[in-house]
């Protein structure tokens, strides 16, 4: 079945079975592999994208439900003011290790900073709770969000 998507500011038409998670439409149909598969049950955050600007788990978002919704993925973050600041902070502090969770971490961090430009450590820990990093880069994720807030303030 054909679905029309608004993805990273462009219109796309994709063929997919109703009920297919957005994650697999992105990864397998559109070959946009920056969004990652980690658990499939909304427990790790690796698949985080934005739906109308709000972070959402694409493994639990079905293609049927996102027609007309603005979908944004990691691939568009370079063109986003907050996204670019978070990426810059991440590179400055070398947040990544294996890097596999980091698209999702960045999408959540951008969600946080767009709601709350100067989050406290508690607010960061609270908001980022659902984004697991098996390499345990959490220290630097925290520092990276604070650094991005600084970059954006300047």
């Amino acid at each position: 079945m054909a679905f029309s998507l608004k993805l990273n500011g462009k219109d796309h038409t994709v063929e997919a079975e109703p009920g297919t998670p957005l994650l697999w439409v992105l990864r397998d149909e559109l070959k946009m592999t920056g969004t990652k598969f980690g658990c499939g049950v909304a427990a790790c955050g690796a698949c985080t994208v934005h739906l109308d600007g709000q972070p959402a788990r694409s493994c639990q978002t079905y293609i049927d439900d996102v027609e007309g919704v603005e979908i944004t993925t990691i691939e568009a973050m370079e063109r986003d003011t907050i996204g670019a600041a978070v990426q810059q902070a991440w590179v400055e502090l070398d947040v990544v290790q294996c890097g596999y969770c980091q698209s999702g971490q960045i999408m959540s961090a951008v969600g946080l900073l767009s709601e709350n430009p100067k989050p406290s450590v508690e607010e960061i820990d609270d908001y980022m709770y659902g984004n697991a990093c098996r390499c345990a880069t959490y220290q630097r994720i925290r520092a990276g969000i604070q650094r991005a807030a600084e970059i954006l303030e300047a």
Binding site: E17, T20, P21, W24, R27, D28, E29, K31, M32, T33, G34, T35, K36, F37, G38, C39, G40, V41, A43, C44, A46, T73, I74, E75, M77, E78, V86, Q87, W90, V91, E92, D94, V95, V96, Q97, C98, G99, Y100, C101, Q102, S103, I106, V121, I124, D125, D126, M128, Y129, N131, A132, C133, R134, C135, A136, T137, Y138, Q139, R140, I141, R142
Partner: protein, 725 residues
């Protein structure tokens, strides 16, 4: 499709294709340059002067792509933004891990240690060839010239190294190039050097094997039995056929499962769920983890099979009999899954020349390489491995049987081989795959005299050997003792009088596998909790007590004492604010020395919060200090997270856990702060990927004991009396 044309993004620099100056070694170790087919290249330089390091280790986040590139860039005289990297092909003769023998692979925290001289030498040879060429061009002596940031300078001349690449490529490689003196280092030891893999990992372009899409690919998932060892006899795919995108299903030739092929991952998942498989359970594992634990605990009460250090057991017993007091504790460590963030996967395709290519985050390429040669009946040179970034591993991507690569090869071999097979595991597959940190038990009795000095140490270990029954048995099993079962205990640097270490192997209920820090994951916990209990019984300070068993100014003891003192100082040991408690642990593993102090608030009953972990590490010369700090941070998190709340349990042979909700990862709020300090050292570099893990959990356990008077002997902590907030 060949390796060169796959979408490896930043991993293949333009330089690689047009490289004309290539420096490496021949199989006999002799340095060589040029287009020699036997050459094992470590560095390639293109006509345009672009430099590429050929990295023989895989990248799971531990940093060798940056590390090995740093060594080459340092010796040539480049900035880090003037070097790129690509992964070496699989070739055990030419890209062996020098710590492993004729095996190409990554493990035991050896990536930097075994490459340090090799990669520096290759870079130094390239430098000397370029300088010699420039000296001839300018009519000056090469000794007057240097390369700074890619520019050849000296004798009133300056030119980019690109100008000399072509002529330099005609020279013989120098046999013993001069390595830079540490006083000349600009990159090695520089905390401002950034990771080369960061930019691609923050914008979604980094390519992990799971991200590879080949034309005409088939997505494959395997229906596996709940109980390990069961065999597939047949299946009914009538429901699977209703799934749009389902292609086919086939029993794997070894009957270990049924491969389901589909047009996309989601269809493969759906179709696999719909498949009905008939299993032969006669050889299946049926034990539960309670039975495994009971067997291990019983073994601790019996005479150990092996006297590991062949010491006088009766003397130890006599010392304990005569001791003023005996401190005793029993421990149990459950099975643990590795759960790398990227679920296991790999891609196999047939090549036009009749060969096969495996695309894989390959931790130990030699294993799958040999296995695939056998499965496909092809000579080694017809099998190619394209190493891609790995989304974590912690040991899981290297199994003696090359388990998931073999699974993919078997799923491919039964097809007509016209379509590439992309094998994908779910998180459920990963947690239930049967490769775990083995279960172990320890029972220790420490005798103290009136003054609180140790007079005897009786230490029994029982558990599931990792190496026995594998191809690695002959390397690590000596006189029946699998060293990985006792490492970190029987070879402790503590100067303990009257020590006896006994070992008994228990039956394997699952496949056991090295898991970040291997045997040290349990031995460090036991040694450090026992030292803490001994100090407490002696009425002595835990840091000072440990130092008293680390006397002497050479070797292990001095380096352990060094990190212990540094961690204590940086943590303000003994000065925790009211309501906080501290615990300490210090341990040597993989040639490195790490001390950690954990500071908590609260207590076991009302809830423990980990306020701060202070770490001091001595891993010899620190090549990339910031990468080392990151590895300590990650290693601490890995050790603490699992010991707080994770275990794999079995009921009737089937794994109880299914996904992250019941194998809960460490989360961002679990550790409030980590502070890492590196001991300056000129010693040869040693490991960083694993040594941060072993001391973390015992330091936490010791802090909990200080706050709560509870000694956690059975893990995980949250199921054995400790609440966390």
């Amino acid at each position: 499709m060949t390796i060169e044309t796959t979408r490896r993004g930043f991993l293949t620099s333009a330089a690689a294709a047009s490289a004309i100056l290539v420096v490496g070694v021949r199989p006999n170790g002799a340095l060589a340059a040029g287009g020699d087919a036997m050459l094992n290249p470590f560095v390639k330089i293109g006509a345009d002067g672009s430099v590429t390091a050929i990295v023989k280790h895989f990248e799971m986040g531990q940093g060798p792509t940056t590390g090995l590139s740093t060594l080459i860039a340092e010796e040539i005289g480049l900035r880090m933004d003037q070097i790129g990297f690509e992964f070496a092909p699989s070739d055990p003769q030419r890209y062996a891990n020098l710590a492993f023998g004729q095996i190409q692979g990554t493990g035991g925290s050896t990536a930097i240690a075994n490459s340090f001289q090799q990669y520096r030498t290759a870079g130094a040879a390239a430098r000397e060839m370029l300088l010699e060429t420039a000296a001839q061009a300018w009519g000056v002596d090469a000794s007057e010239l240097t390369i700074e940031e890619g520019i050849v300078t000296g004798a009133n001349n300056a030119a980019p190294l690109a100008e000399f690449v072509e002529a330099a490529s005609a020279l013989e490689a120098p046999t013993e190039p001069r390595l830079k003196d540490p006083s000349e280092f600009r990159l090695i030891g520089n905390p401002d050097v950034r990771r080369l893999d960061s930019p691609a990992k923050v914008n979604g372009t980094a390519m992990f094997a799971i991200d590879l899409h080949l034309p005409n690919e088939m997505f494959t998932m395997i229906a596996r039995p709940e109980q390990r060892g069961a065999l597939a006899l047949g299946f009914d795919d009538s429901a699977a056929r209703q799934v749009a995108g389902f292609i086919n299903a086939a029993i794997l030739p070894n009957q270990a499962g049924v491969a389901v092929y589909a047009e996309n991952t989601w269809a493969a998942m759906q179709a696999r769920d719909a498949l009905q498989v008939e299993w032969d359970l006669s050889a299946a594992e049926t034990r539960s983890s309670d039975e495994i634990q009971a067997e291990i605990m019983a073994a601790l009460e019996a005479e150990p099979t092996y006297n590991v250090n062949k010491t006088d057991q009766t003397a130890t017993q006599a010392a304990l009999d005569g001791a003023a007091q005996v401190v005793e504790q029993t421990f149990y460590f459950p099975l643990l899954a590795h759960a790398p963030m990227e679920p296991l996967n790999c891609v196999i395709e047939a090549n036009d020349d009749g060969g096969i290519t495996l695309h894989d985050g390959a931790q130990m390429p030699t294993g799958p390489h040999m296995a695939m040669a056998e499965i496909f009946g092809l000579p080694m040179e017809k099998i190619r491995i394209n190493t891609m970034l790995a989304g974590g591993s912690f040991g899981r991507r290297a199994t003696p049987e090359a388990d998931y690569q073999v699974e993919a090869a078997l799923a491919f071999v039964v097809t007509d081989r016209t379509r590439p097979v992309k094998l994908v595991w779910s998180r459920e597959d990963d947690l239930r795959s049967g490769y775990y940190r083995p279960a172990f038990g320890h029972k220790v009795r420490v005798g103290l005299d009136d003054a609180g000095q140790i007079v005897g140490w009786d230490h029994r270990i029982a558990g599931q050997s990792i190496m026995k029954g594998t191809a690695f048995e002959s390397f690590v099993v000596r006189d029946g003792v699998d060293h990985s079962s006792v490492e970190g205990a029987s070879d402790t640097p503590y100067q303990i009088p009257g020590a006896f270490f006994g070992l008994t192997d228990t039956e394997k209920a699952t496949s056991t596998l090295w898991w970040r820090a291997v045997g040290h994951t349990h031995t460090a916990y036991v040694m450090e909790v026992m030292m803490d209990m001994a100090a407490q019984a002696a009425g002595r300070d835990p840091v000072e007590y440990r130092l008293s068993y680390l006397q002497g100014d050479g070797g292990d003891q001095a380096r352990l004492a060094g990190v212990l003192r540094l961690a204590a100082e940086k943590a303000a040991w003994g000065e925790a604010p009211a309501g906080h408690a501290q615990g300490v642990a210090v341990h040597k593993s993989f040639g490195s020395y790490v001390a950690e102090v954990v500071e908590i608030s609260g207590n076991a009953e009302d809830g423990v919060k980990i306020e701060k972990v202070t770490c001091a590490v001595d891993c010899g010369l620190a090549i990339n200090p910031d990468v080392i700090k990151a590895q300590m941070e990650g290693g601490i998190g890995y050790g603490i997270g699992h010991n707080m709340r994770d275990q794999i349990t079995l009921s009737g042979g089937a794994v109880d856990q299914y996904n992250f909700p019941d194998y809960e990862p460490l989360r961002i709020g679990d550790i409030a702060a980590i502070d890492v300090h590196i001991v300056p050292s000129a010693e040869a570099p040693s490991g960083a990927g694993e040594p941060g893990t072993p001391p973390a959990a015992p330091a936490l356990a010791n802090a909990i004991a200080a706050a709560s008077n509870l000694r956690v002997g059975v893990l995980p902590m949250d199921e054995n009396g400790v609440a966390f907030v």
